[in-house]
Amino acid sequence: MTQYVLKRIFWALFVVAAVITGVFVLMFGFGDPAQATLPRAGPEQLEDFRRKQGLHESLTVQYLSYLGVTPCVREASPKWNEDESKREHCGLLQGDFGESYGHKEPVARVVWQRLPRTLLLSGIALTIEIILGLLFGILAATKKNSWFDTGFMASAFLGISLPTFVTGPIFLLVFAFLYGWFPVGGYGVDFWDHVYHALLPAFTLAIVGAATYARIMRSEMIETLRSDYIRTAKAKGLSHFQVVVKHGVRNALLPIVTLMGLSMAILVSGAIITENIFAWPGMGSLAIESIHNLDAPTVLAVVLIFSITVQIGNLLADIAVAYLDPRVRLGG
């Protein structure tokens, strides 16, 4: 088991490194961040900016310095020194993400400010997703083929066909603009205000996930409720509620745990769109804003964090599967 987990962690690190390298080449090799940051600047200003950010160096030199393997090439960095031998390292290995072109402050500080907001939003969304998904999935399974089940399954199917950028603006229009139950966007001033502002975007983000969980939970529950040990439990005289909750749900939950890991990717891309609809100042908004402005250090940090999130999700899913199914860890 340990060997399998180590192998998976190694692979996850490799994927993150591959993605970061790809985006690095894309940003610095093909894009022109200086021109994009200072669209109206003359050649001298551009040259000055390139020196300050180390953009005048070759791609390889920039890359090694960005990783923190070789000394700093960005003149704007405090680690840089006129004297080449006195330059310190200022890369990822030192926990330095560089300086944001747009925000004029260290990327780490920008990310540190934005990340908790996205975690709050996704956390609420995940909670809504799981509560609604499991509840409706179990109810539909226990009332299989009733009008509730049929109607519910149809709406769940519609639910997976509703993109967030469609539901978001519609919710905004109906619940914020027309009825005024929720704010029209933004972040709020204190914690409970943040939560209040997060509710509508979180609900938007949760619809697709809730529908997916519900569909899988329903089919798993139907499968489980058919099995022998459920019949035994019933024969022993346990109440319907006890059979469903204690014996049924517990076993049907296993695939849901796996799915939760895999759904990190969906949650991440969902956050990008939802945050932009509701002007929620988190990582998703930061992603779009920095990509738009070719703010390369910020883009790289965002991609790094999102890739790591997705990898952790996949990793947990794989470990859960391996833990539950010995064939995977022994065969792989």
Partner: protein, 291 residues
């Protein structure tokens, strides 16, 4: 292909409804621009914008003194004919979705069948590549590439989406090919001296076509979603070209005064995605009637 699959599909009411929606939006994309009454990018501010800057409403919702005929759905935020933009935007969205899917299906089939059939180091390398592509944050990477490439050319967008979306199909066709390769009649064909190309074409390909059609259908829905999402974020189809996603974004700016500008593209997007998903689900049941 299995004639029983077609019979099962025909009996599935949901799938047929999906197919009707698919045919409708496909025709809309193909013929829409031909029947569009106006140039989608032409701004007629004096006709389509009121004095207070709000767009002219649809024909059934106009004040006295405003033109009663023409411009069926009124104008958009800057005075362009809304109906013509919806029709042209439909073509853009459908084009991107269909072509991206075609690329993805072709790549997925090619990679999946070849790596399943030939195996070895090639198979190993290709499947690791699939793992990497499958576990990158798709939307984020697509947006980044689109921004750096920075071209209004539509083909760049569908090539990009196609090259990011072939992996699921490659995995499925690979495992199907592995199964088929071991079947006795395939072994027999090879033993009798049938060429590899012929075995692939006559025996392997027909067997992987079912899953390819199913995945391809749901892939169109996903491509519509991704393209619209990118255009909604301002990093997909570039202005002045219309796409349903970018129209939704522009419409959101008029929230409260002209909600229809948001609702029209939203309804069309949902209808398209729902149609393809429904048809895909029906095809899955038809080809693989386990449940």
């Amino acid at each position: 292909m299995d004639p029983r699959a077609w019979r099962r599909f025909k009996k599935n009411k949901g799938a047929l409804f999906g197919a009707v929606l698919v045919i409708f939006v496909t025709l809309l994309g193909a013929l829409g621009p031909l029947v569009a009454p106006h140039d989608p990018n032409e701004q007629s501010r004096d006709v389509l914008l009121r004095d207070d800057g709000t767009p002219l409403g649809p024909t059934w919702d106009r004040a006295e003194g405003e033109p009663a005929e023409g411009h069926l759905l009124g104008g958009d935020t800057v005075g362009r004919d809304e109906l013509s933009r919806l029709l042209h935007g439909g073509r853009v969205s459908m084009q991107v979705a269909y072509f991206a899917t075609a690329i993805a299906v072709f790549l997925g089939l090619f990679v999946g069948v070849s790596s399943g059939y030939f195996g070895g180091a090639y198979d190993f390398a290709v499947m690791r590549l699939v793992d990497v592509v499958l576990s990158i944050p798709f939307l984020l990477i697509a947006i980044t590439i689109q921004r750096v490439v920075d071209t209004p050319a539509l083909w760049a967008l569908f090539v990009l989406l196609g090259f990011l979306s072939w992996t699921t199909l490659a995995r499925v066709t690979r495992s199907k090919t592995l199964q088929v390769r071991e079947l006795e009649y395939v072994q027999a064909a090879r033993a009798l001296g049938m060429s590899e190309a012929r075995v692939l074409l006559r025996h392997v390909l027909p067997n992987v076509l079912g899953p390819a059609i199913v995945i391809g259908t749901t892939l169109v829905a996903q491509m519509i979603i991704v393209e619209s999402a990118m255009s909604y974020l301002g990093l997909g189809v570039q202005p002045p070209n219309a796409s349903w996603g970018s129209m939704l974004r522009e419409g959101q700016e008029m929230m409260g005064s002209a909600n229809r500008l948001m609702v029209f593209p939203a309804v069309l997007i949902v209808m398209t995605v729902f149609g393809f998903n429904l048809m895909g689900e029906g095809l899955r049941d038809a080809f693989d009637p386990k449940d």
